[in-house]
């Protein structure tokens, strides 16, 4: 698989706001997934 990299060295405030929102969304999603854990991976008795 070909990989390339783009650096945004001086992001605008709008981009920083967006990426921080994405970061917060990811953290919220991870918490939500944790709450569903037992339905996907039931504990063995």
């Amino acid at each position: 698989m070909k990989t390339s990299t783009l650096h945004i060295e001086k992001p605008s405030n709008a981009l920083l706001k967006l990426v921080r929102e994405i970061q917060a969304d990811k953290e919220a999603t991870q918490k939500e997934l944790k709450s569903k854990w037992d339905s996907y991976f039931p504990k063995k008795k």
Partner: protein, 157 residues
């Protein structure tokens, strides 16, 4: 939504993972992006500070993600978390996000397929730490990755 999906996976090392695919809101996408953009989140109940995975386990996870990308004509993106993660001494200098990004790229390099592209976007942030995102899509959708890169570059001062 049609692109939203959760896939549970238990590795041969007996580590549970839940991989979630969810569509990025179309109204937040810049103009000219004519493919759905889908977020990937990988969660585990194992402690990232001690977890280690076999090559086979990582490869299986990559296959789940690429299988999704193959069946759905989309651009996948993954934001690398800054949560603590186990790093070897050689990698201690890297931030958690940078290390995760390098690990993510290494995982995908294991897949020898020429069918997909991986674009890493590093957004410098002196206050909160640099952000690392990955964009993955089929080679035939390279123009969409290029367009996203152009749009992002416009937000570089």
């Amino acid at each position: 939504m049609v692109y939203d999906q959760e896939i549970p996976y238990t590795s041969e090392d007996n580590v549970n993972y839940l991989i979630r695919f969810s569509a990025f809101p179309a109204d937040k996408l810049p103009e000219g992006i004519n493919l759905p953009v889908v977020d990937i989140v990988i969660e585990t109940d194992a402690d990232f500070k001690v977890i280690s995975n076999s090559r086979a386990s990582l490869s299986k996870m990559v296959n789940i993600i690429l299988d999704y990308a193959d069946k759905n004509n989309v651009v996948l993106y993954c934001y690398c978390s800054d949560k603590a993660i186990k790093k070897s001494k050689n990698n201690e200098e890297q931030t958690n996000q940078q290390f995760r990004s390098n690990l993510f790229s290494a995982m995908f390099k294991m897949n020898k397929s020429e069918k997909f592209l991986n674009k890493v976007v590093v957004i410098h942030d002196l206050n909160a730490g640099h952000h690392y995102l990955h964009l993955i899509t089929k080679v035939e959708n390279k123009h969409v990755i290029d367009e996203i890169s152009i749009q992002l570059s416009k937000l570089d001062k």
